[in-house]
């Protein structure tokens, strides 16, 4: 396919270097350095998409990031189909495949375009008004239908094979925007030696110098000067230059989020390259040099393909060497469009006519255009565009009415003026101010340490821009603490401007022919299909705040965030309201400036790096034994150890029986462990736990309960006193971090006078529980220096010594009701000691058991699990743990809370045991309990099941439950209504095995 709109000799690309690509299945030839937009335009393709609501044919409006129309799907492979890519920023690579969106069956014939004909139905607020009744239809009918009809493009349906990098960076001066202003600011800051980051969203720096043929700096064409300046900056150690990098969010304290597109422009990026890189930059000073965006004219059918911003046509011509048409019309309200006409005319393109709304403008560009023989019509308006899939004509009329004249064109270039890009400034919480003279919002009061320079600050003209930017760069460097080593900071190398283009004011709002009382489709917001009429209708229907108008019409709410539409929408609303613009106000700018991929936000945090996976020292051994693991917080814990042919039920039954008959080994390493050390350690323990500690002898252990200030159980665990000033505290697995914080919080804020310190030792020690009648026989042969007799090492005691030649803290304790030990060894020895214990255990018929068996065995003994049998509303008394509250104690965290009237009331729910009448029925945890199953629904629920298991040791099911007044109901029959019938249960004590506790020494 011949790229027939490429003009030989025009632009900066090497036209000999071609790249092939396809759009909607058709092959084209582009040039290296093209964007998808410029490559399509070179082939005469303007029609690239269908609009969101009316499915109107659309072409390119812009040549940059503000593009509302030309959204395409880029397809690399089955897994990489990126929707909503702006063709104006997608760089071309050889083999690029793109498809249009939001059309069916084809772009040229789209069934959805019936919406355009039916558009009177779809006016502003249509969705709010239409899909209200009946209410029930919303969820099942309207919402799914609207959702499937809405949206642009198709989401990829496979996992993203690309990877995304992330980086934090700090600098003294962050310059956002790499046009003339940004480069000048960066040069000034860089020469002081401070750390500078300069970022621009384009592949090449230069900003509007890309198309401003009249700009001359340092005797060079502006764009060439920019490239030389960037090369100079890149060579400096203190400067980082980031191209293809969009600053999308400006957050508190000069924290700026940027996304760098690393490989989307490459034909076949290597696996080593990330697709994108997220930069999170903290800058001492920020210089905003974000430029300005040209506005379109609001007139009937201003969305036809071939109608675009004048500056865009200049960029396509002066940079890419592409003419956007052969017979071009111009519709403008300011000077800058004349430059487009002049550039195109000089490149050999016919300019059908310039239509200028202004009455008698004058200036060098107007003279030059006239000199080139271009027809100029002042005081006239384009009231309508002809053509459908491509503009074919413009209808011109004197702006105050009169005879119409239709001029044949194949493109219309428009300019209503320039809107300063204050997005990032506004995101920084700065307040914009309306300049009455120039009719634009510019940065007003600053909220952060930043400055705006150039067009985004409302500064016109290249000379004034460079002046301002260079001074600001130097000032920012000084403010950031840069040293003026040369003594002439900010004076030396200010770039000299030799040629500049003038900027002039334009107009805001609807142009003649689209004003009040008209019903034409004059688009304000192209991406959301909002017309001037819609804005006026919103005001007429009572939306008087610009925030309401925005939401009612969706003006500015599309992915382009209203870059071209906000000011027009505001002006039309203000006019309709009869108020001045500043009184109506501007809507808030929010991050992101342009769409950001989920991938770049997620970065490395996916797959194995989504969240840390914590494994204990014996994980490898357990995995090799075929253990099934369960997630407990971030930990992987062995759940059960099935033998060949065993299901979970069979494995757990076997493990449970074996532990009570012989012994079992269990990895308890994940339990939280805190070493409490200092002369006031016991005092501190007295204050944090309900139990008394002062009199606990070194070498002994105690089961401790920790409350919150409100008197409810917060955590529990066995605590061993190693020395008068040293406690080894254990917590629940899930509670480890928060218990540590809770203790540290109280230590620092309530008890700072105590000489005691807390150290987490959770990961210092691997913990191997050996439980069962043979436990001692298994451990004894491996232990040195500890007398393991019942007299020397009674239940609830702790000794330090050696096991398998390595240090141990050996606890005699039990969470099974059997004779039990917990062997603590330094973590790196955990697996080897486990293997030694396992080998001994084999001689005695021991089993390895997992968390499920641990749960069953403790439930058989009525030992609670905080967080399962308690839920943050359970007191020690509720849980039957009054014995663990020091009766003589006068102070501990929660003591006053525990005395509250509600917490001592008789009717509180208390923890009890439940036995089903049918021993084979296992209750469901969480099931509700009632007194009378025959009462009408809703029944009065008096409690719920907290723990429930099949107990092979008991030969029946067992359960724990919280039941109102439960301890007074022993022997009572209660009922658990379930979907399949009501289950009868008997209230019992909580201990189902060895009620006297004889097995602890058995």
């Amino acid at each position: 396919m011949n790229a027939s709109f490429r003009i030989s000799g025009a632009g900066r690309l090497n036209q000999a270097k071609t790249a092939s690509f396809s759009f909607d299945g058709k092959s084209y030839l582009g040039t290296e350095g093209d964007t998808l937009a410029s490559a399509l335009l070179a082939n005469g393709v303007h029609l690239v998409g269908r609009s969101f609501k009316y499915h109107r044919p659309r072409g390119f409006l812009s040549a940059g990031a503000e593009e509302p129309n030309a959204l395409v799907q880029i397809v690399r492979d089955d897994a990489r189909k990126t929707p909503n890519v702006r063709a104006t920023v997608q760089e071309l690579y050889d083999g690029l495949t793109a498809n249009s969106q939001n059309r069916w069956p084809s772009l040229a014939f789209d069934v959805g375009a019936v919406n355009d004909i039916a558009s009177p139905m779809f006016s502003a607020g249509f969705y709010y008004k239409t899909f209200m009744w009946p209410k029930s239809a919303w969820l099942n009918f309207y919402e799914p239908k609207i959702r499937s009809a809405a949206g642009l493009g198709v989401s990829p349906d496979r996992p993203d094979p690309d990877h995304y990098a992330a980086r934090y960076a700090h600098c003294d001066v962050l310059v956002l925007g790499g046009g003339a202003a940004g480069i000048a600011a960066a040069l000034a800051a860089a020469e002081t030696g401070v750390r500078v980051i300069l970022a621009d969203e384009q592949a090449e720096f230069g900003g509007s110098l890309r198309f401003e043929s009249g700009a001359k700096i340092e005797g060079e064409n502006g764009f060439d000067w920019a490239q030389a300046a960037i090369a100079k900056l890149k060579a400096l150690d203190n400067v980082r230059v980031l191209s293809r990098t969009t600053a999308f969010g400006y957050y508190a304290q000069n924290f700026v989020g940027l996304v760098e597109r690393v490989s989307d422009h490459l034909k076949s990026p290597g696996r080593e390259l990330a697709r994108e890189r997220l930069w999170q930059v903290r800058a001492k000073r920020v210089v905003l040099a974000t430029g300005a965006i040209e506005r379109h004219m609001v007139f009937a059918n201003n969305d036809r393909p071939g109608i675009m911003l004048a500056s865009a046509a200049r960029a396509y011509l002066n940079h890419y060497g592409v003419a956007v048409g052969r017979n071009v019309g111009i519709y403008t309200a300011n000077d800058s469009a004349y430059a487009a006409a002049i550039d195109l005319r000089k490149a050999g393109v016919n300019i059908a006519a310039i239509v200028d709304l202004r009455d008698n403008p004058s200036g060098p560009v107007i003279d030059e255009a006239r000199g080139l023989g271009i027809e100029i019509n002042f005081g006239r308006a384009v009231v309508s565009a002809g053509g459908k899939l491509r503009v074919s004509s413009m209808t011109v009329q004197p702006k105050n009415g009169g005879g119409e004249r239709t001029i044949a064109v194949d493109a219309i270039l428009m300019s209503a003026g320039w809107t300063p890009s204050v997005h990032l400034f506004s995101q920084s919480r700065g307040k914009v101010a309306f300049n009455e003279e120039t009719r634009r919002f510019v940065p007003g009061a600053y909220a952060q340490d930043c400055m705006s320079v150039g067009a985004c600050n409302g500064t016109d003209g290249l000379d004034a821009t460079i002046d301002e930017a260079y001074a600001a760069g130097a000032q920012a460097a000084r403010d950031a603490g840069g040293k003026d080593s040369s003594g002439k900071m900010g004076q030396g190398a200010r770039p000299k401007v030799d040629g500049s283009e003038s900027w002039s004011r334009g107009m805001l709002g609807a142009a003649p022919g689209a004003g009040p009382g008209t019903t034409v489709k004059a688009f304000v917001d192209f991406q959301n299909d909002v017309t001037a009429k819609d804005i006026r209708q919103a005001v007429h229907e009572g939306m008087h705040s610009i925030e309401h108008v925005k939401r009612f019409t969706t003006n500015g709410m599309a992915t382009d965030q209203g870059k071209t539409s906000n000011m027009h929408g505001l002006a039309i609303a203000a006019e309709t309201l009869g108020k001045p613009i500043p009184q109506v106000g501007l809507t808030t700018f929010r991050a992101p400036y342009t769409p950001v991929t989920f991938g770049s936000i997620v970065g490395h945090a996916r797959g194995a790096l989504f969240d840390p996976t914590r494994r204990t020292a014996t994980h490898g051994w357990a995995a090799a034994q075929g253990a099934v693991f369960e997630d407990v917080g971030q930990w992987k814990r062995a759940w059960y150890f099935p033998k060949a042919g065993e299901d979970m039920h069979a494995a757990v039954n076997r493990e449970c029986v074996t532990v009570r008959k012989a012994a079992g080994l269990f990895d308890a390493s994940t339990l939280g462990k805190i070493e409490v050390v200092g002369p006031d350690a016991a005092k501190f323990m007295e204050l944090l736990y309900t139990n008394p500690w002062e009199k606990l002898e070194p070498g002994r252990c105690r089961y401790g309960i920790m409350l919150r200030e409100d008197g409810f159980i917060y955590d529990d665990g066995v605590v061993g006193r190693l020395a008068p000033d040293r406690f080894h505290v254990t917590t629940t697995t899930g509670g480890a971090p928060r218990v540590m914080h809770h203790m540290e919080d109280y230590l620092q804020t309530e008890f700072p006078h105590l000489n005691v310190w807390l150290t987490s030792i959770t990961e210092q020690w691997a913990v191997i529980a050996v439980q069962g009648p043979s436990a001692r026989k298994i451990i004894e042969p491996l232990v040195e220096g500890i007398d393991m007799s019942d007299e020397a090492l009674p239940h609830m005691s702790v000794r330090e010594g050696k096991i398998c030649g390595v240090p141990t803290r050996l606890f005699r304790m039990s969470f099974t009701g059997e004779r039990g030990f917990e062997v603590n060894v330094p973590a790196d020895y955990g697996e080897a000691v486990w293997e030694a214990l396992w080998a001994e255990g084999q001689k005695h018929g021991a089993t390895a058991y997992g968390t499920e068996t641990m749960h069953v065995l403790r439930a058989e003994k009525g030992y609670i699990i905080v967080g399962q049998d308690t839920d943050g509303t359970v007191t020690p008394n509720d849980a039957g743990l009054d014995w663990a509250v020091g009766k003589k104690k006068t102070d501990f965290v929660g003591i006053r809370g525990m005395m509250r009237a509600d917490l001592v009331a008789k009717s509180r729910k208390q923890l009890v045991g439940l036995k089903t009448k049918d021993p084979k029925v296992v209750l469901e945890e969480g099931a509700q309990i009632v007194e009378d199953p025959k009462q009408s629904i809703p029944m009065k629920m008096i409690g719920h099941v907290t723990s429930s298991y099949w107990s092979e040791n008991c030969g029946r099911s067992i359960a724990l439950a919280l039941v109102a007044g439960g301890r007074d109901r022993m022997g009572q029959t209660l009922y658990v209504p379930m979907p399949n019938g009501t289950i009868e249960v008997e209230v019992t004590g909580m201990v189902f095995v060895d009620e006297k506790g004889e097995r602890l020494n058995g």
């Binding site: 990098a165 790096l609 494994r615 240090p807």
Partner: protein
């Protein structure tokens, strides 16, 4: 307090089971940076009021630093300031600092955490960038000079970061987080030279 601590000294002469450090020997090289697991070291968490600092410094053979974000090193032993009254002592010569602290009576808390932490070396011209992939601190030499130390984060895990040379860091994390930290650093390393 000293007595109990002394008892947990490293194993004596009797035959002991083998030590299996987490991720032992793992290393990844990328352009400009190498990430590798460092050998085990002796470590204590040391807490003490200001008055005890001279005695502890003497016992440990290294002056405990008093400035935030700093460390002091002598003879293979490094003291990292982690917070007010808090230091991490790392000994790479096999001499247990717990035993040294046990000898003095000045008020302090010394807790053995040799096995709690795993150390990872990140070294090479792209080391700082690699760490900055998940650590938000300013790692320029001005802000984080050689010897600077900080308890901070890397991705979703806490780490202690020590700059051992202009282009080298020691990353300390808890044992069960070491796989996550090592994997994250490895992935970051592959992007760091770009």
């Amino acid at each position: 307090m000293a007595k109990a601590a002394a008892k947990t000294k490293a194993a004596g002469a009797s035959a002991s089971v083998e030590r299996r450090p987490a991720l032992a020997g793992r290393a990844v090289s990328a352009p400009g940076v190498k990430v590798e697991i460092l050998p085990p070291a002796e470590r204590i968490s040391l807490r003490a009021p200001e008055a005890s600092v001279p005695a502890l410094s003497k016992a440990l053979g290294v002056t405990l630093p008093a400035t935030p974000k700093s460390s002091a090193a002598k003879g293979g032993r490094t003291a990292l300031w982690l917070g007010p009254e808090e230091w991490l002592i790392i000994d790479e010569t096999g001499n247990d600092p717990l035993a040294d602290c046990a000898k003095i009576s000045a008020l302090h808390s010394a807790v053995g955490i040799s096995h709690r932490n795993v150390a990872i070396s990140v070294a090479g011209p792209a080391a700082a960038v690699t760490v900055n992939s998940g650590c938000p601190q300013d790692l320029s030499l001005e802000a984080f000079p050689v010897g600077a130390a900080s308890r901070t984060i890397l991705g979703k895990s806490e780490i202690v970061l020590l700059r051992t040379a202009a282009d080298a860091f020691r990353v300390e994390c808890w044992r069960s987080f070491s796989d996550y930290i090592f994997t994250l650093l490895s992935e970051a390393a592959s992007d760091a030279a770009n």
